[in-house]
Symmetry: D2
Subunit: 358 residues, 4 copies
């Protein structure tokens, strides 16, 4: 593979869009061919249009690119677009690209729960990508849409999947303590969160409760007849915002179909590597899940960057008086929970042959 | 009642001790007669010995008092001592005062779960004070020890008690987001908590799980034969520290013996006033529980001072996919959860005649 | 004075407007007759239109008032309007009220530096109110406009005025560490300030440098010929935003015309009471300036509420290697620096007879 | 150079000591041969003795090393020791190592201002290393002591040095906003700093005011007769603590001997590379100073990691009403201001031949 695959970024000026720019600017397989945003930004150099919030500087070639309107088809050929569009406007744009033969790797919520849209945490359910056959047939698209889950769900599912595969997860209580970067920019007002907690994030609990069931679900059937049967995992979520910049911490009580001791659970979590096809992808961490047995871990400040933000850290695995186990977990909400997840999904599209390399 | 009741404060220089000084300096019934602390502080004026962290200045007469060692009997007569001693040293000191005929209102954990020690949230279980008969007989004390619960438990129990009385609480999943003031001073290092979350507080979960059962328990028997039967409420707690100065936020899923809609639960919480005997006490708030139905409440920054820190605010009462109801609650950890609770307990001792007024 | 003076609030739904509502709802002299805001809010009950951010609940009668458009004349008679309008729209509205015979007490910056507009910190320059004669003559108004300074300036001037009166302040270096509430709501994004410092606040330094000169200036002439000669104090300001909710901390080096030791400066600051005519006003604190000699004071968390937010706390008065003295000061930015200041200005208008009481 | 130079770390279990471990574990020239700490830790594996606060895990070989007491001579040969000892105990230990022929690169303050001790910011005054001749002669040592400045001073001096060399700095007013990591661990209590500012750091202002003069001073004389004449720069510092984890922000007004416009100053800062001999050292950043002209920079969250924490970022260069220029700067307090600085000093010792390589 000598030439890189040209890709576009939709909603490139926002916080997730900026993460896409940073991750893709140095990507071994992809090359940013277009940065797209709203009409207000279109025509301006990206370096001016974006209020850049990443610590590292804007990659020079991208800074000079003129922002394009996010409307298909783009004047430059792209095989994949990464969508960080606002959910309110995303649907027709994403559908337009998919109809035009482009694969849309989206971070927006609109299509996540559609039965023919793969909702992926690749290590967990890379096989769900087969839904693209159904999607293309049903919608008459030459391209397609692949979604990553909500940021809290992504981290949760990585901790639950090994336990689900080994013991069967039947129930889960989840209380999240979510970073402000999850709300975008400007997002949460400082007056609301400095020295404070907000026990509410609109729509978040519902997403955690439903997306988890789909991702842990089983693929059945083949080709056009493929479908995902949701896992019978009943989740009850309490979503909270805390004054943390990056990193969602979640405390979880888990009910299992087959009993397991904390030690057995730790062993399963430690040994888990996920779908073999995912291991070699550029964005895949060496270990999708790490267990830290120190009493006060994981913590955003100390554990966030494991696996370049793609590893979920689990700690405090212990018995629960109500269900079987309790644990705490931490995931990087803008990497494993958003931009990094989408890039990994795109890599999977290439690795499985949906997007040609050369 | 013309003269005030002379009281002492044990551990008066620490953070809870300072709250005692502030609350008692202006108290209508009590008068600070002695401030006691470790040998290192003894003999120095309180204003020098205490590293004062309260926003309001040290009450002048107390600032000039010489700190005494915390050893009974004190040279000045006191009827009640408020104990904010370190748990590691508290037991023999508190027992010494009780044996000497003084009533010890303690914030320490040592004796809380002893069957003959009243563990009080007065609005909930003022009747448990009858355990003092048992305690005096069993231990041969002329005084006695009355305890208030752990700070997280105090807030939780006030939200659960109305539901327990109306519908029977059988199970509760609790995740706390606790303020740093709960750890005393210097307590939590800033390097550990600025912009961070710590999903661990030593011993806290166990306290929440066991103290709740005792406080919600039923008193049976009379006189020396009195005893509390723990409520059959199974609690699973996840304790977390967040960068908040004051105010513990807790998210809770509740299982009920008799089903209730969120509307019914809100009505019960709103109407609940607790033990009639507690209502008129100086520290009792007009309403021990308030419900705020705004979507993003309660919050430490906005709701902490209700009822001068003695009211627990409940919000987000909604269905739960696993148990019956979900809700969020907030309590002031150093007032309702510590010093204010102890002062209210002392008021109850007076109101019920254990300590004479005049 | 049996009946209260009817007043209106312009920009009543914003953060400063909310502070006005809170302060005026219980005011002994004033009565809220109208709450005004943008067309978008007009016609809705205040309790719905305002996204209330104050800890105390919305005063009930105000919550039910219908918001009016901020255009003079109001359908209800008012003698004073308190303006928390956005500077971009304030000028014609405020001028319209003044022309219509209403006194406008404004927190906006537009007219502050106009030579005929009193820019008041009442304890310092209550006599500047005489500029109203000039203003009414020059502009043909029956009412008038009185301004309070920028929040950082208000606190600075209260610390400098005693020194200026005693020793003559010639130069001042100021570095501010300002709370996020100074930027309104939503104001500063949490992503920008949690665990961070921003060494820039647009326009702030210029305001501190120029407003200080006017407030410390001397009134000369009488009636229509009155005017303020700016004080010859050269100020260099560095404005910074820090993750604090309320309270601007400022560190200052001061050059004096007549040398003074730190002890002499402290004595002057301690003894200073400001204009006699201001002392009895309802919003005036017992002491406009307090000195705290503890090594690490003042601090927002511990010293903010002195004088119900109207007292400035000064500490760390010590020699300076470059100028004469160094010190640190703290002022409540939304009370002494905004809403409280404006209410105090209105009280002065009444006390000096510009607005009749009955 | 095939073999690495064996080095020891004194005070290895503290926060600066941990940074030494992290930086030296992967160093191209140095190899950790010994980790030393107080008697309480001696004999235990480093991985147990250190309460590790770095995000990256403890380097495995170091985790297994047994901690040694910090007393010379060590049983293993070392050529350099890095000292992060507590100042209260450091002096005799450091002197003992120097007498025994070891070069002590120290972060403690004790010897910084001794006339024969090089106080280095290598890009600024690498030539001051010649003081070692004087030191060895005067003290009869075969080794020697080299110090890095206080963390705030290190960043300040890097911004002032280019201006000093080009225009002559005569005066500087400095207000710092310092991170909590500067106080070590546990250091600043969270109750003191969450949502707060403390306008006081013990001893800090004096260090900034005096160390700056020595570092910017000129070396004169040769061999045993060498000496540093302090620069005639009068500095007035205001030190403040803010709730930031890492990164000291400083706002500075600068007086110059020869006038310069902000544009000229920016050009000088941009072009400055410092001592040629320092450029190639492993810890030297590509640019010791970077200028960011965006209005709201530098900021700890966005600019801290430039040059792997060894680059100081300057912004907001603009005129000053009292002196000549105003600017804001940011330096990484535990890297450029502590451990990174010491490692760079050690590299300079090697590069200049004081410590043999092979």
């Amino acid at each position: 593979m000598s030439a890189k695959i040209p890709v576009g970024i939709l909603g490139a000026t926002g916080t997730v869009g900026q993460k896409f720019v940073r991750l893709l600017a140095e990507h071994p397989w992809f090359e940013i061919a277009a940065v797209c945003a709203s009409e207000a930004s279109a025509g301006r150099p990206y370096g001016e249009a974006a209020r850049w919030r990443e610590p590292a500087p804007i990659p020079e070639p991208v800074a000079r690119m003129l922002v394009r309107p996010a409307t298909p088809p783009l004047e430059v050929p792209v095989r994949i677009v990464f969508s960080a569009l606002d959910a309110a406007v995303a649907r027709p744009i994403e559908e337009g690209f998919a109809a035009a033969g482009v694969y849309v790797v989206t971070n927006t919520r609109n299509l996540r729960m559609d039965p023919d849209v793969p909702l992926l945490v690749p290590e967990v359910n890379a096989d769900h990508l087969a839904l693209l056959h159904v999607q293309q047939r049903a919608r008459g698209w030459r391209g397609g849409v692949v979604a990553n889950p909500n940021c809290s769900t992504a981290a949760l599912v990585l901790a639950l999947a090994p336990l689900h595969q080994a013991f069967g997860v039947t129930r889960a209580f989840v209380a999240t303590m979510q970073a402000v970067s999850g709300a975008g920019y400007p997002g949460v007002a400082s007056l609301d969160i400095v020295g404070n907690v907000i026990p509410h994030i609109g729509g978040e609990e519902e997403k955690i409760e439903t997306e988890t069931r789909k991702i842990l679900g089983a693929l059945a059937g083949e080709g056009d007849a493929a479908g995902v049967t949701e896992a019978d995992v009943v989740v009850s979520a309490h979503a909270n915002r805390v004054p943390v910049i990056d990193g969602h911490t979640e405390v979880v009580s888990v009910g299992l179909a087959r009993r397991a001791t904390p030690e057995e659970a730790v062993a399963v979590l430690r040994d888990w590597t996920g779908h073999a096809s995912v291991r070699g992808l550029p964005s895949s961490p060496a270990r999708p899940v790490e267990v830290d047995e120190r009493a006060d871990r994981p913590q955003p400040r100390l554990d966030l960057e494991r696996g370049r933000g793609m590893t979920v850290t689990v700690g405090r695995v212990r018995p629960c008086r109500l269900l079987d186990l309790r644990l705490a977990l931490l995931g990087h909400n803008t990497l494993r929970g958003a931009a990094g997840a989408a890039v990994q999904n795109a890599e999977l599209l290439v690795a499985q042959g949906w997007v040609p390399r050369g």
